[in-house]
């Protein structure tokens, strides 16, 4: 999967560190399962639109919905720049 677009998310919290990433394809079941290697994966398969959340070892949180090409990334306050670089290197 390749990153197609990045948008900053404005909200009341963590506004500087929350981004929406658009990928060139939706997250498939197997890709979501594969993300377990990044950290703690929670996968809610029984929801109307199955969603997932991965908390990576560096504190980055990835949230997305199965078959949706978009996901929301919250980079840790402590090291947002390096965490962002790591994330984008993985999918860039």
């Amino acid at each position: 999967m390749k990153i197609v677009d990045i948008k900053k998310v404005e909200n009341c919290f963590d506004g500087d560190f929350v981004f929406k990433y658009l990928f060139d394809a939706g997250w498939t079941h197997s890709e979501i399962i594969h993300m377990e290697m990044l950290g703690d994966l929670r996968y809610y398969q029984s929801f109307p639109r199955p969603m997932f959340q991965v908390t990576c070892s560096d504190g980055t949180v990835i949230k997305g919905v199965e078959n949706d090409p978009e996901c929301r990334i919250i980079f840790p306050r402590e090291n947002p720049t390096s965490a962002r670089k790591n994330f984008e290197a993985r999918f860039g």
């Binding site: 009341c12 809610y44 929801f47 109307p48 639109r49 959340q53 949230k63």
Partner: protein
Amino acid sequence: MRQIYLNNATDAYPLISGVVETMASYMQNPTSFSGRDGSGNPDCLFRCRSNVAELLEVHPEQIVFLSGATHGLNAAILGVSLKPGDLVITSVTEHNSVLRPLARLQDLLGVRIAYVPLTDDMRLDDKLFNDFLNQKPRLVVLNHAGNVTGRINPVRPWFEKAKSAGATTLLDASQTVGRIPVRPRELSADLVVFPGHKGLRGPLGTGVLWVAPEVSLAPAFVGGTGYKSELREQPEEMPARLEAGTPNTPAFVGLEQSVLYIRNNFADIIAAERSLTQMLYRGLSEIENVQIFDGENLAEDERIPILSFRIAGMELDQAGFALTESFGIHCRTGLHCAPLIHSYLGSLPDGTVRFSPSFATPKEDIDYAIDAVRRLAA
């Protein structure tokens, strides 16, 4: 995916039927625009003003049209012309549109601010309020109902006492106009502010400031009024005194439609919203691991359709993401621009999930939302 809208405390959706069409018709009609030189359709703002005035049971000349409640609250707070050392009483349940203008005057002018806290049972502290009144406040600012918990505050007796103590009383009715009766005279309010896009279900960019005839506000903004242009200063007459600049007429033309609908259906609207709120409260309160913030002992006429909660063991952001993206429930998470109340609710630092239905919300949507929270909490 099914889409459920439970974010009416932010922006009402859908708009009342006819609002958009009326606005479009206005904007596509050239005679609408010639009204600005007095030859076209100058009555449309007056008609809207009259209808809003009728809803509040006040005189239309005292109705000031502004861009929203934030604009109105700034105009009211600045217009009182506070001086260094003046005391303002407000509460910890207020929105930033009250807290920030006051904080600014505290920094710039040395105005003093007293915040009425909440008691253990989530009521505004009557005893402390009375103590503050003994210090002769210039201004008392309270919301009619909080935008985090939906609890209706005891405005009338408090404003009566405040006026007896010599204070001007300002009511932030942002969450109540259109949802429950708001009659400024009955509430002993000198100033009332509310937006058009919440309870009134009108367009964004509309706000109202009502000023009691015996109160004179200094204009926070001055400029063109379309008449008495030869004067060096802002005309004294209301509402032009407080309405400098070009009005958002298309939006107020739309607002008139929604105000008419609300007025004609008010009893049904109130009954429907009370029923839906009770249904939502009962449903959520039966779910293990769900903490509802305030409301356990509230009667149906002590709250408006706003309900805040959290799911134990689930981060707020995760709950919000799941509700919106997985279940299609449009709601709001966070501090809701009312930061002070959260230290009393125990919901710092993140805040709460907030559901705010309206009379337009189908009962099935409430059932669906309760079921979604149940599944998240499982």
